[in-house]
């Protein structure tokens, strides 16, 4: 899961991991804290199977990438295996270098990804806003990801029930379903 510091990728990874644990997988998850969180590019890796050794993977080893921002999809595209799957938020966040006019936000990120990988593209930011809160964008993407993963033996809705605070449960369930539908 890749994105920009503060977008909620770590929380999303936690929901994923809770489901994988319920399904009996060995799971490892890797994240980086500190300086990169201040609006920088961030990635969280989740690795699961019968027995997992390394918590991190290098280029060419990921089965699926979930990009919370579309330029970040391109940045981490080399981590995907050829023929891999990408779930991409059609959402643009200019970096500080772009905002300062030092460089241009790249054009054609989505098209580039779509011509090389099986892509599920959705505007999770807009879907979240329509549901009433930009903050549930990460769960919208999570819904899309569960569609792309084809792991339908896991009851993801019950995992969400167990992991998000009751106050936000209804919103998050709606977000999850909207994300799943958008990834059709």
């Amino acid at each position: 899961m890749v994105g920009v510091g503060g977008q909620g990728a770590i929380l999303t990874a936690k929901v994923l991991v809770a489901g994988l644990m319920q399904a009996g997988y060995d799971v490892k998850m890797s994240e980086v804290h500190g300086m990169s969180q201040r609006g920088g590019s961030v990635s969280t890796q989740v690795h699961w199977g019968d027995k997992v050794y390394s918590p991190v993977i290098g280029p060419g080893a990921a089965d699926i990438v979930v990009a919370f921002e579309k330029m970040e999809a391109v940045r981490y595209a080399n981590f995907l295996k050829p023929g891999g799957v990408a779930v991409i938020n059609d959402y643009e966040m200019p970096s500080s270098t772009v905002a300062a006019g030092l460089c241009q936000y790249p054009q054609g990120c989505l098209e580039a990804m779509q011509s090389h990988f099986k892509c599920y593209t959705l505007n999770a930011a807009q879907i979240a806003l329509d549901l009433g809160s930009a903050k549930c964008m990460n769960i919208v993407l999570f819904g899309a990801m569960t569609r792309a993963l084809h792991m339908d033996d896991i009851d993801w809705e019950s995992v969400i029930r167990d992991t998000v605070p009751p106050k936000f449960l209804e919103l998050n369930l709606k977000a999850f379903r909207a994300g799943r539908d958008a990834a059709q």
Binding site: H33, G34, S54, G58, R75, N78, T97, Y105
Partner: protein, 584 residues
């Protein structure tokens, strides 16, 4: 048995708790911080605190060990440099009850100024070293580390790396075992490290290390996984996990957990059972050099290299020349470096600094290191914690000695850094008459590491209220007669404070004070700035403040409403008043 998904740091905290640790002291630093953030939940059973710096933390923990309780300190790799002084003598003296020092190294420099390999500290200071490779080992090895510390009368360096500290894996808990209380007795010959005592301690220390090396042969932290006789791999820490992914099934492993002193007999035995021997380790050839110098042929660093962190794909490529197959999508992402957050109080100070080309600014470690980035570009150096003041002093003396009087020198530290090691620099500047201005950027929290309290914040790690130490009181007591306390978000006031400090004929200092917007216990007066597109002349002056929320769209200024918090710094620099703040 219930399994928990824990980071290495969470598991270390759990391990120390289960091992019966009683007194724990640390200074926050990525990637070590969460050890103590998680220890705080056990406050009914142990005492834990944030100390002003790593040296203090180490001394507190060592003192507690002398006092007869299991103790812990934790720090990032460069923190051990600060704590080196007490560590190098604690090894000579030995311990009271078990004493464990967590060093979290940062290969790849995710959040650090270097990637020093702290395993050399174990060899240099002559202490035991334990290296876990996943979260379960973080918990289990902690208990063994205390046992080793007590049996061999040595401090134990518990060395992790970012990927051990911050990766999460499944962990099974045990129970806390309270340690029996040892009635305190004065032991002058052991704990007063006079030259005469140290003279006797050194040979004793060498003997302890010999015994520990022999123990390494049967130590449960070291294990052989014999699968075949063709290839053997000696490895430890996170490199073990990478190597398991990379080498074929029939590869034998000697997986080490007690890595100093290295169990050379065990290594020799393992080496004799395989045809080809690899040593797989991240960063420096710490194990390989020792194994080679014991006359055991092996291969490692000449293939793997000593730069940055490894991963399985990289290791496979370096060892076997197998490149991962990747796709080039033909579009390149532009860099997305970290930046000062929208509404960050440091922005107003660095913007003010950026306007004068004769200002020379020695920075320091923290969020405010980002003042060096474009477009602010307002920093000349950043070396280490506390260095902001004293490096600035050196710059000022150099300019003074060479007649470059047009240069105006500022030394910049944060509030936590001020208490860490800025105070000594502040004394240096005023006492030795530095022609420079020390500046404390006081955002009332230790920011970059994720909001830990410090002696200026008024709270302790265990959540109790404490009397905050006032930075201005400290500076005044040192002899700073003019102390300008200013809200850096008010650019006019900030500029005036700088001008007044430079004009002062008596020692002057600046405290730029505004709390970090991310502090949850404070109510922040946020709003939203908007651009009147009809008034905007597209001059791009607002871009000079380096705010991620401010950008140009269709030739005019645009403020992203999802990021803006209404700090008005951009509005204050707009020459035509096109930016105004709407109240929330």
């Amino acid at each position: 048995m219930e399994r928990h998904l824990l980071s290495g740091n969470e598991a270390i905290a759990r391990g120390a708790y289960e091992a019966g640790a009683k007194v724990c002291s640390a200074y926050p630093g990525t990637p070590s911080t969460e050890v103590f953030e998680n220890l705080a939940q056990y406050r009914d059973d142990l005492y834990c605190e944030w100390a002003p710096n790593e040296k203090v933390a180490t001394e507190v923990a060592y003192g507690a060990s002398i006092g007869g309780v299991r103790s812990l300190c934790a720090m990032k790799h460069v923190g051990v440099n600060v704590a080196a002084d007490p560590i190098f003598t604690a090894t000579y003296n030995g311990v009271g009850k078990g004493f464990v020092i967590v060093s979290a190294d940062d290969p790849g420099m995710h959040s650090s100024q270097n990637e020093q390999d702290n395993r050399y500290y174990a060899k240099f200071a002559k202490m035991a070293m334990v290296e876990p490779s996943d979260s379960q080992e973080c918990l289990d090895f902690m208990k063994e580390a205390y046992r080793i510390s007590e049996e061999f009368d040595l401090p134990v360096l518990f060395r992790t790396t970012t990927r051990v500290a911050h990766s999460k894996s499944l962990v099974t808990f045990g129970e806390r075992e309270e340690q029996p209380v040892i009635p305190y007795q004065r032991r002058t010959e052991k704990f007063v490290s006079s030259p005469a005592a140290a003279y006797l301690h050194h040979p004793e220390l060498e003997e302890k290390l010999r015994r520990l090396e022999a123990y390494g042969r049967t130590c449960p932290l070291n294990r052989m996984e014999m699968k075949g006789s063709k290839v053997g791999v000696i490895t430890a820490s996170i490199a073990y996990q990478y190597a398991k992914d990379v080498f074929p099934e029939d590869t034998s492993f000697l997986k080490l957990g007690l890595t100093y002193p290295l169990p050379m007999d065990l290594i020799r035995e393992f080496a004799s059972q395989v045809e080809k021997l690899y040593v797989v380790e991240e960063l420096e050839p710490f194990m390989e050099e020792q194994i080679r110098s014991a006359g055991i042929p092996c291969q490692g660093k000449e293939l793997i290299g000593n730069l940055y962190e490894l991963n399985p794909q990289l290791l496979r490529e370096r060892l076997f020349g197998i490149k991962p197959e990747t796709v080039d999508v033909g579009v390149e992402a532009v860099s997305r470096p970290p930046a000062l957050c929208p509404g960050c109080p440091h922005r107003g100070f660095f913007y003010t600094m950026s306007k004068n080309k004769n200002f020379v600014i020695a920075g320091d470690i923290g969020c405010y290191t980002l003042g060096s980035a474009a477009p602010l570009n307002a920093m000349d150096s950043c070396v280490c914690m506390g260095g902001g003041f004293s490096v600035a002093m050196g710059l000022a003396k150099a300019f003074e000695a060479t007649g470059q009087t047009e240069k105006k020198v500022f030394g910049v530290v944060g509030d936590s850094t001020f208490f860490h090691s800025g105070m000594t620099g502040a004394a240096e500047i005023v006492y030795n008459k530095g022609h420079m201005i020390p500046v404390v950027l006081d955002n009332s929290i230790t920011g970059m590491t994720g909001h830990q309290d410090n002696p200026g914040s008024g709270y302790t790690l265990q959540g109790d209220v404490a009397e905050a130490i006032r930075i201005e009181d400290v500076l005044r007591s040192y002899g700073y007669e003019n102390i300008f306390i200013v809200d850096p978000q008010d650019l006019t006031a900030m500029q005036k404070a700088v001008d007044d400090a430079l004009a002062s004929t008596v020692p002057a200092a600046i405290i730029a004070r505004r709390p970090c917007l991310l502090i949850k216990r404070i109510h922040h007066d946020t709003g939203l700035c908007v651009v009147d597109k009809d008034k905007c002349i597209g001059c791009k002056k607002c871009l000079k403040v380096g705010c991620p929320a401010v950008m140009i769209q269709d030739g005019k200024s645009h403020i992203d409403p999802t990021q803006c918090v209404g700090c008005t710094v951009c509005a204050q620099v707009c020459p035509v008043g096109a930016i105004t703040r709407k109240e929330n």
